[in-house]
């Protein structure tokens, strides 16, 4: 079997738990020439901000950046749907030579007149960073003329990784926070940071908190609204999920407004219960909140467990590989899979940092492969080596899993069922079960000796194992 080559530079971005105490190298730029699964600064900003449904999102650059991000995540809104449109200055050669400032000014003015949005975000793309349009000045001018916040988002693609895009998004959000009066906000109040409502998760989570007697001031940014964000400094606690994207904003609000924050995950039974308890514990002066949280958890878990157990029985001992954007998500997934009786044998992320990977190592079983910024060759090599039953990943991993003949679960943009909360855990179990146990894998060459033989009689490879899941033309 041809051996997959791991470039020397990449060796320290891969480790096996239990084989020495090698430090994980991470937070590096992808090697030039790699088939990286990573995206850019603009991507980071765009995915974080675009769920704010009553704001205008104008992409200043050539049309591609707007086209590729046109409603790609399917962030759901309970009201305004302005975020579902794709607005672009569609920069042409003329503007590259003479500057795109005028066009940006005209587009912004035109749009604000037409839609009267509550705020506008203007995303700078690579080219804007080069031709030097003064986006700040134009935003300021339009903000003055139209009397709404117009926020530049400095998201030139080449200026770092997706993480830097999160930072740019947080910077823009920070300029909104504190601009409206927080009057009338309950002393028992929170902001939900870092959920993007891709499949209605924010509605479930919001309801849990409200049932506990907590006021949710702003959801940032899933089903988000500008006015709520403007007065979000009136909340008493920030509850942060997806630590990669939103911690910066939470930090800012802590320093500027003295609002503490906690990190939570809504994924999996333990983590979800924890997220409710942690918030309740923050308000000890109102013990009813904790009582209600316990009630909610008890009721939900009672309803959930019998069905979950049935899935867990069937899935006992099956093996999973995880490759996700943020490492925080990976922690929750490892725990949730464990609850389903499954073992995580490979865990990786695009953007984890050193302490994330330390934590991940802690959490995983001996022998688990931990990998940073994996490319498809590496993924398929390890997936084969570990003989996994399920890959959890995003859009670019899905067809790879299917080609290898593995079950797949999208835990990213393209999920269709809410995977957060107690209900979400059941959805997750159902999805994992239906993929891993699907009858179609019997036909897949990798697993399905029984169904492949009839057609290959007389062929040279008949009777041999034809399932070498990795092949590279040499």
């Amino acid at each position: 079997m041809p051996e997959v080559r791991i470039l020397k530079e990449r060796e320290r971005q891969i480790l096996r738990k239990g084989s020495g105490d090698q430090d994980m190298a991470c937070e590096q730029k992808s090697l030039a020439g790699s088939v990286s699964q990573r995206a850019c600064v603009f991507c980071g900003s765009r995915v974080v901000l675009y769920p704010i449904a009553d704001a205008l999102h104008l992409v200043h650059g050539p049309v591609g950046c707007a086209a590729y991000t046109w409603d790609i995540r399917g962030s759901l809104s309970s009201g305004a749907q302005l975020h579902r449109l794709s607005f672009s200055t569609d920069i042409q050669e003329k503007e590259v030579i003479f500057g795109g400032g005028e066009k940006l000014y005209a587009a912004l003015s035109e749009l604000i007149d037409a839609y009267h949005p509550k705020a506008a975000f203007v995303y700078s793309t690579c080219i804007v960073g080069l031709i030097g349009d003064d986006v700040n000045a134009i935003c300021k001018r339009v903000a003055r003329e139209k009397e709404i916040p117009v926020l530049p988002v400095h998201s030139e693609g080449f200026k770092g990784t997706k993480k830097d895009g999160y930072q740019a998004a947080c910077d823009a959000l920070a300029r909104l926070v504190g601009t409206r009066s927080p009057e009338g906000i309950s002393p028992f109040s929170i902001n939900i940071l870092g959920d993007f409502n891709l499949a209605g998760e924010i509605w479930m989570i919001r309801k849990y908190y409200e049932d506990m007697g907590i006021q949710v001031v702003a959801t940032v940014t899933g089903d988000g609204r500008v006015d709520d964000i403007c007065k979000s400094h009136g909340a008493r606690l920030n509850v942060v999920q997806c630590s990669g994207s939103m911690t910066k904003l939470a930090e800012h609000m802590k320093q500027r407004y003295g609002i503490p924050y906690i990190k939570v995950s809504y994924f999996g039974v333990e983590d979800m219960a924890d997220a409710l308890y942690k918030v309740a514990e923050h308000f000890p002066e109102n013990p009813k909140i904790l009582t209600r949280a316990k009630d909610i958890v008890r009721q939900e878990v009672q309803a959930l467990m019998p069905e979950l157990k049935r899935y867990a029985q069937a899935l006992q001992g099956k093996k999973a590989a995880i490759y996700v954007g943020g490492s925080f998500k990976a922690f929750s997934l490892v725990r949730a899979l464990r609850l389903l009786g499954m073992k995580t044998v490979l865990a990786g992320s695009q953007t984890g940092n050193k302490s994330d990977y330390e934590q991940l190592k802690e959490l995983c079983d001996e022998g688990t492969i931990i990998i940073d910024d994996a490319n498809p060759l590496e993924l398929s090599k390890f997936v084969k080596e570990k003989d996994v039953d399920l890959l959890i990943g995003g859009v670019k991993e899905r067809p790879i899993a299917y080609k290898l003949g593995l079950g797949f679960c999208d835990h990213n943009h393209e999920r269709k069922e809410a995977l957060a909360g107690f209900t979400g855990m059941l959805n997750f179990a159902r999805e994992v079960y239906s993929s891993v146990m699907s009858p179609v894998w019997r036909f897949a060459p990798r697993r399905g000796g029984e169904y492949r033989s009839s057609l290959s009689i007389g062929r040279e490879d008949h009777g041999q194992r034809i399932s070498e899941p990795f092949c590279c033309h040499s």
Binding site: V35, G64, G157
Partner: protein
Amino acid sequence: MLLRHTPKEVKEREALTINPAKTCQPIGAMYAALGIHNCLPHSHGSQGCCSYHRSMLTRHYKEPVMATTSSFTEGSAVFGGQANLLAAVENIFALYKPDVIAVHTTCLSETIGDDIPQIVSKAVEEGKVPPGKFVIHANTPSYIGSHVTGFANMVKGMVKYFSVRTGVKDNQVNIIPGWVEPSDMREIKRLTAEMGVKSIMFPDTSEIMDSPQTGKFEMYGKGGVTIDELRASGDSIATLAMGHEASVPAGELLDSKCKVKLYELDVPIGLKATDRFIKTLSDVMNVPVPESIERERGRLVDILTDNEQYFYNKRVALYGDPDQLIPMCEFLVDIGMRPVYVVTGTPGKYFAARMPEVLKDIPEAKFRQGPQADMFLVHQWIKNEPVDLLIGNTWGKYIARDENVPLIRFGFPIMDRVGHSYFPNVGYTGAIRLIEKLLNAILDKRDREAPEEKFELMF
């Protein structure tokens, strides 16, 4: 109403594109390069570009799409991307072992002014390109043209780098199929073989973007035009270039570089465009049209006439790429439908020249192209006067839902349905499939919405 923010009143916009009916050049170059055997497309720019293009192509084809990136940083933006590209070339050949790396530029590297051929010669000098392996390139600045232009530029690059004229003609024809699906390429090759003609098709994404499950992850599919075939294209008797925007530039270059006579055709969508393809092939290669193809055509004519009453006078709105829209509109008119709104974001004079002729019997028809010709405009037109059918890519589903118009998915990208990789739209059989789709869309809606007293079993 998901697009409740779309007003009915059409205002002239100057600076703004809303809901584009196009995307940028590099993704077209990437798709074209995937149609070369053992080729790895390489995006010379920021990581995001490559990631977006791969994601969109993956969503459309449901296949792993392999491509690499120069991973630009702030440093490369200041000092140029030479170091990145040199490192990339070395890493790619070491790690992924392609026969060809097909580099395309981005708005970033174009504006910085990276000279790709110069960097590639440096890579060759420094021994970073193993013997028998190649690095080709196309300039694809995102702020010029559209995804179609990028496709055309990469196809042109194939001719530029590989086609040679030995002086001895081979009895074969070059076919440049344009930006069509792997299923379409397969179908065009089948028809050509059925005519008894030997052909070289480039690019050819069949057996790459529609590969079977083998239990292996393969970097490169089985298919694709080989380097030897591309070289030999310079000795072919003629080139059939399908689609003015995507294919003709490469065809012209072959003509001037290797004296291979160019025949410009539409993408063979619908009856007449397929007739022109078959006729041209027959004339150029001096072969008769076999009875099997006559009978195939007959089946198409049969289904057309069987169902004419359902098509007659139906109003249709279309958006997409010029090379597809032109023959598709021609076909719709031929079966009695009225393509009343036609929009493409792709610039180019040819569309404006052809459409009046194609739509000459539809006086109420409007067509538009260029930066402000977008799906927002299509929607506004529909709000002013409704249509019976909408034809275009996946993004049309918002309009379809809001206005209760059936959407027939056609073009790129189709991210929410399957079938386009496997069943062609081209040729007589492809046209039969189109008829089936049109008919089903119309009749499904009728069945769904008919009041009880008018609901019928038969049609």
